[in-house]
Amino acid sequence: MKKSIAKNFLALDYEAIVMGVSAGGFQALTILLPCLPKNFSLPVLIVQHTIPNADDFFPGYLSQKAHVPVRHAVDKEPVMPGIVYLAPPDYHLMVEYDRTLSLSVDDPVNFARPSIDVLFETAAAVYGPHLVGVILTGASADGSLGLKAVKDAGGLAIVQHPRTAEVDFMPKSAIRTVEVDAILPLKAIGKMLARLAD
């Protein structure tokens, strides 16, 4: 069943993946990102809720574990395939109409800066149906409306199976808000993304 869903979507060409993760994110990304192959052809934009003064340790660590480069997004840089961009701590990450990235210190949304909703909504406006949205573990409702925006724009909505999530609040909230396309454990999400990018 899940396979066939994935197959149908293969016909569409996706241009980017947005991902939101909160409590439990360190573990989750350490499992998920290494599932992406070396030649992974899509950009991955991630908002992870962190403390405002977190340093660069996390992207460096993930970069070592994954087969693709992982780093903090730089203001106004073009979105490049095969790179995993993390929102820098204390800044919202957004996608511009010309497919560059931009940052802001606007007020927190859902008590969060960076906010998942902000990334997802701006990305959905730019990529429309060519976007994949992924919500992982977390204790926040942030991301639910963002995922809905992805779906409303014709994109694909994937959520981590709540039973496999370290904290199930965020996946459950997303599933309640959006008619999602797939509910999967982390590694299966990784495989699905790898196939979608093929």
Partner: protein, 280 residues
């Protein structure tokens, strides 16, 4: 679906053009994603189904424009944001300032003033009090009014006090304000050296002969082209050897005038304008 995104992009361009032609405020080279979120929020509050209706509205109703203007220039700021930056300012810039008889500083995009009071406190503690003139500018009038009064909610001040401890402030933060009901009123001694003024970096000219310019978390709201122009404005406003400080995620490296600056602290985004080469 894609058509919607494209239509919206067109509507935003038209709205910003309309604002510029009618009211002279130039947001046309701002990064669109953030401004479009603000426009859409204002649009919903106004009950306009599309941006085009909002455009009609603001062209014919100056009050509606004022409201949009307020929403467009929401100023988010705090005191001693990024404590590490203030430590570097103290260690890498203050010693040089102490050598100068008359110090001129420009805090560009000062919002409601929290940043400029943080700076004034630090300079006071380090003894940079000789002849000191700080110009604090912004386009947001209501933010500037708050800045001039220097009145902030007490519950915020709690957070600022812990930031102050993290920069290893030499005094007691309570000595810099008077509590009045739920507010903290900044001591007037701090304001003595500060001039608050309306200045638009996009359309207004340079400020001369600065020793230090702080422009933090403003450039991220501009596109690369406008960033480039504003960096040139700063370059023109600094004396040789003057310092430029940006927000922690901003950089001068893509600007045309980048080669006229030396990095002083790459991590804290502190740059110094080069001295002219003697042979040239």
């Amino acid at each position: 679906m894609e058509i919607t995104a494209e239509t919206e992009h067109i509507e935003i361009r038209l709205l910003l053009e309309a604002i510029y032609l009618k009211y002279g405020y130039d947001f046309r080279s701002y990064a669109e994603a953030s401004i479009s979120r603000r426009i859409k929020r204002n649009m919903r509050l106004n009950g306009c189904p599309h941006i085009s209706e909002l455009q009609h509205r603001i062209l014919h109703d100056a009050r509606a424009f004022q409201q949009l203007m307020t929403d467009l220039s929401v100023s988010v700021t705090e005191m001693f944001r990024n404590p590490d930056f203030y430590q570097s300012l103290r260690q890498q810039i203050v010693p040089g300032l102490l050598q100068i008889p008359f110090v001129k500083i420009w805090c560009a995009g000062c919002a409601s003033g929290e940043e400029v009071y943080s700076l004034a406190i630090l300079l006071k503690e380090e003894g940079v009090t000789q002849q000191l003139q700080i110009y604090a500018t912004d386009i947001n009038e209501s933010a500037l009014q708050i800045a001039e009064k220097g009145i902030y909610p007490l519950d915020k001040v709690k957070e600022y006090t812990s930031n102050y401890h993290r920069i290893n402030g030499r005094g007691d933060f309570v000595d810099y304000y008077t509590a009045l009901y739920d507010n903290a009123v900044m001591r007037s001694g701090l304001k003595r050296n500060i001039t608050f003024a309306h200045h638009n970096m996009v359309t207004d000219g340079s400020f001369g002969e600065m020793n230090l310019i702080l422009c933090r978390n403003v450039m991220i709201y501009f596109n690369r082209d406008l960033q480039n122009r504003v960096f040139q404005l700063f370059c023109d406003s600094l004396i040789p050897g003057g310092f430029l400080c940006l927000g922690s995620r901003e950089t001068i490296q893509y600007a045309n005038c980048a080669n006229q600056f030396d990095p002083v602290n790459v991590h804290e985004k502190i740059y110094r304008k080069k001295f002219p080469c003697p042979g040239l």
